[in-house]
């Protein structure tokens, strides 16, 4: 019974324009081409180890207009961006880019996973994901490697010019 309740969906909550919204977002242009063959899911390395991620299901939900379910769920963040499905899709739906388009929309509605907040913070502080200050440069010198200067001001400028810095 629990399972049955889970799969009953309220059609009145669908947003039919969601597909257009995604198609207007760079990376999402080809969403309407999907005919649900499942080639993406069949070769997906993440889908191969967990039921939590199923690209065909996500694209289908998006096409149906299940906007809130798609944007608020973990789904789109579980794509490892390996491009296996991108190579194999007979309709050139470009699923990793499509997932990225949906991620960008989700972020604008404040659905930002913690890991991306941490990464953005690192970029603001160091211009890179792993800091390189005196300690790291000393370690590098011990291995005969040249020092590296962090480009903090430049990266901060980019994050604020695009508004990305304020999103997470």
């Amino acid at each position: 019974m629990d399972n049955e309740q889970e799969i009953i969906i309220d059609v009145s909550s669908f947003v039919p324009q969601f597909r257009d919204e995604i198609a207007a977002e760079p990376g999402g242009e080809h969403i309407r081409r999907c005919y649900s063959c499942g080639t993406c899911t069949a070769g997906c390395p993440v889908g191969g180890v967990t039921d939590k991620y199923n690209p065909r299901r996500i694209v289908h939900m998006a096409l149906l207009g299940m906007r809130e379910q798609v944007l608020a769920s973990d789904f789109v963040w579980l794509c490892s961006v390996c491009y296996t499905c991108y190579e194999r899709c007979p309709q050139d739906v470009r699923i990793p880019e499509l997932m990225n388009a949906i991620r960008n929309i989700a972020v604008r509605e404040a659905h930002v996973p913690q890991t991306f907040k941490i990464q953005l913070e690192k970029l603001r502080e160091h211009g890179r994901l792993y800091e390189i200050e005196d300690y790291e440069n000393e370690r590098r010198a011990e291995h005969g490697l040249p020092p590296i200067r962090e480009a903090v001001a430049e990266v901060r400028r980019i994050l604020s010019a695009t508004g990305a810095g304020g999103k997470a």
């Binding site: 939590k52 994901l129 291995h143």
Partner: protein, 292 residues
């Protein structure tokens, strides 16, 4: 002499110093000059999911720094390779976007005119240097060893970015590079599979399950080591190998080597020079055999 702007990205200079050490030594031996550029930042890969424009601009700025020196870019990380290459393509195809990027770069005193080529070191070794020329540099044949190649994802895919230099479904470039050292290529099930690194930060358990699959497949072949060309793949298979072992009650002790380390050993560089002390899973058998 070939000259490239040496693009290290975020992970290599901190967590992949062994990769960097080996790459610098091997390049020098092959008369490839690697120029360190002041001010390179993150490539933009981690920003793309949050704000694709910020990711693109970050990549474009790095390309502009290389272009200012009149250099093409040589990379070690496959994700950086993909991000910088994709940015270069977009800036050739989309005039409106390019105008916006140019305006932003001008505010930083930079210009980008689309002249920079981005090449992964492995591709340069395979395509530009060539397997035959590599064979001529080998002084210590590694013919006693069998290595399992891990190509990873962004080195080959999406393939439209890479002019078809290798087949994304049945690649052979890394295998050929391994054979150039005299070693055998050990093939295994699902050789083309992803390391899982793309979702490590979001869902560690699922990511490590993806990692585990390949470790399982490689150890059953008896390969002496896995050989790869991306620092994040190394984080998954090497730095996280013990974590996978403790999570899933397995035991691998599978050495994981960066390809330039393997090539360097075949060129006669010492294990120390190739940074093998920084490898977490000690390739003891290999080092012992080489010291004979």
């Amino acid at each position: 002499m070939a000259r490239y702007a040496f693009y290290l990205g975020c992970t290599v200079p901190v967590r992949g110093m062994n990769y960097e050490m080996a790459a610098r030594k091997v390049a020098e031996r092959l008369d490839i000059e690697l120029i360190d550029i002041d001010g390179f930042s993150c490539c933009g890969f981690p920003v793309k999911p949050v704000d694709w424009r910020a990711g693109l601009l970050m990549a474009a700025r790095n390309l502009a720094l290389a272009e200012a020196q009149g250099l093409n870019v040589l990379t070690l990380c496959s994700a950086c390779t993909g991000t910088l290459t994709e940015a270069g393509h977009r800036l050739k195809e989309d005039a409106e976007l390019t105008a916006w990027v140019s305006e932003q770069l001008a505010g930083m005193g930079l210009t980008y005119n689309g002249r920079v080529q981005v090449r992964h070191l492995a591709r340069v070794l395979y395509e530009t240097v060539g397997v035959e020329a590599l064979q001529e540099t080998v002084t210590v044949s590694l013919d006693r060893f069998g290595f399992a190649p891990h190509y990873g994802c962004h080195y080959l895919k999406p393939s439209h970015l890479y002019n078809g230099f290798d087949d994304p479904e049945n690649p052979e470039s890394l295998g050929c590079l391994i054979e150039a050292t005299g070693a055998r290529v050990v093939h295994y099930e699902d050789e083309g599979q992803c390391c899982g690194g793309g979702i490590l930060g979001f869902d560690e358990e699922t990511a490590l399950l993806v990692t585990k699959q390949k470790l399982d497949h490689v150890v059953t072949t008896g390969a002496d080591a896995m050989v790869l060309i991306c620092p994040f793949c190394a984080i998954m298979y090497e730095a996280n190998q013990r974590r996978v072992e403790s999570l899933y009650g397995t035991s691998y002790k599978l050495p994981v080597l960066y390809y330039p380390q393997v090539l360097g050993l075949a060129m006669g560089f010492s294990p120390e020079e190739m940074g093998l002390k920084l490898n977490r899973v000690k390739p003891g058998k290999l080092v012992k055999a080489l010291r004979g």
